[in-house]
Amino acid sequence: MKPHADGPRWLNIFHFASPYQFYPLAGRLIPLFATLAVLLAIAGLWLGFAIAPADAQQGEGYRIIFLHVPTSWMAMLIYVAMAFWSVMHLILRTRLSAMMAQALAPTGALMAFLSLFTGALWGKPMWGTWWVWDARLTSMLLLFFLYLGFIALTRSIDEPDRADKAGSVLAIVGVFNVPVIYFSVKWWNTLHQGASISIEKGSTMASTMLIGMLLMSLAAWMYSITTTLSRVRNLILQREARTRWVQELLAISANKA
């Protein structure tokens, strides 16, 4: 598949598949998403910690939900996004897709870690234990290890081309874990409480809680996009260090300094 030369530029999705075109675009988008992340986080935290009422059963302790749920969602979603870019890389053979997958992985690992960590902080006062070998907790831990495996594999292969493809294969194999985590609350009823929001029944929470949580989730999205884009820019510079446009770019920034 070749990009069409004619037609408006924004219609051609392959236009930005070239690192040369994507680098400045990402540079322009990062401040936008970073600002959105900060604003949404402020609004979400304010709503969650100052406005939302205390929970009927769990009192004030439930408020960690505003960090726990968004990070858990992001941890799963980022893996799916990684698998998506990996499929794109294997089918369309665009280098940028593999770089996207690799840029997503550290943020995903961070989100999985935060999800486990905030979950432990929440579990101690509510269940009286930091950790149980519950299906949902354990599968999230496995997701964390899948991220670590992906990062370790792509970092330990020196040829970029092989690293890209090997990472793509691994991301696709691991994505089968995500539905298991997602449905584990339904399939295994153990200590972990059921999902607070479902498509069929709607939300079972107070509306300020829900809005606060959604704002925090959007903030987590924006944060993840920001970090991923800036990591992609670094990857592009590393990979394309020998090309002319990177050399010129470095020369310009060296002159400015």
Binding site: G149, L153, N177
Partner: protein, 224 residues
């Protein structure tokens, strides 16, 4: 050469090579037995406790023994260039991988399955538990070989490949472990355990279908 003939030839060749190096096969089995023997030493020989943890311990030991044997799947062939020759054969690379998976299962999974009842008796498992343990190992070990082949292919010639292999493969083995030991635990709890066994069989079908294809893709990367 048709794909089927190629498949059979790869199996025959790998089995022959394994027979030449039969000491290696014994190492895996001895490892399996040793791991299983260490647990009673560590947690105490109380019969009731042992019969309760027995299925899980044997399953974990089987997974570790399988992990130990995984690098053997492609390593030697990759080092002496045979893997490249096999890729040049006029048959799909996934057939070659499938043949290697079958041979690997015959040389690791089947011996483990056959020796497991012996250890199960030492753990005081009753005969219907032993039967279920053998059934789950019989269905589950091909999955270990299939998923492991992807990890083994991805880590061919990679720095600290063997360590990395464990990190990549063990999270993927988790569902097999859950349903494998779960089926035995269900029998111990008075159920028939067919639900877990069916899920295990479903995983086996899915992974045996997809793994050769993905592993072949990973092998081509290593050989290029």
């Amino acid at each position: 050469m048709s794909s089927w003939a190629f498949f059979c030839t790869v199996i025959r060749r790998d089995l022959f090579l394994a027979w030449q190096q039969r000491g290696d096969l014994l190492v895996g089995l001895v490892f399996f037995v040793l791991v299983a023997c260490l647990f009673p030493l560590a947690i105490g020989p109380e019969a009731k406790l042992l019969s309760r943890i027995g299925p899980g311990v044997l399953w974990v030991a089987a997974i570790l023994a399988n992990l130990l044997a995984l690098p053997r799947l492609f390593q030697a062939d990759w080092q002496d260039g045979t893997l490249e020759q096999l890729l040049l054969a006029p048959a799909p690379a996934s057939m070659m991988v499938a043949g290697k998976i079958v041979a690997h299962w015959l040389t690791t999974g089947v011996p483990l399955t056959l020796i497991a009842p012996l250890l199960g008796v030492q753990y005081g498992l009753s005969s219907d538990l032993l039967l279920m343990l053998m059934a789950t190992l019989f269905i589950g070990t091909p999955v270990l070989s299939a998923l492991g082949s992807i990890g083994a292919a991805l880590t061919l010639g990679v720095r600290q490949g063997d360590m990395l292999l464990a990190l990549l493969v063990l999270p993927l083995y988790a569902p097999v472990l859950i349903f494998g030991s779960g089926a035995v635990a269900a029998v111990a709890g008075g159920l028939n355990g067919y639900a877990e066994l069916s899920l295990l069989a479903a995983i086996a079908c899915g992974s045996l279908f997809l793994a050769p294809w993905l592993a072949a893709m990973a092998i081509k990367l290593a050989v290029e």
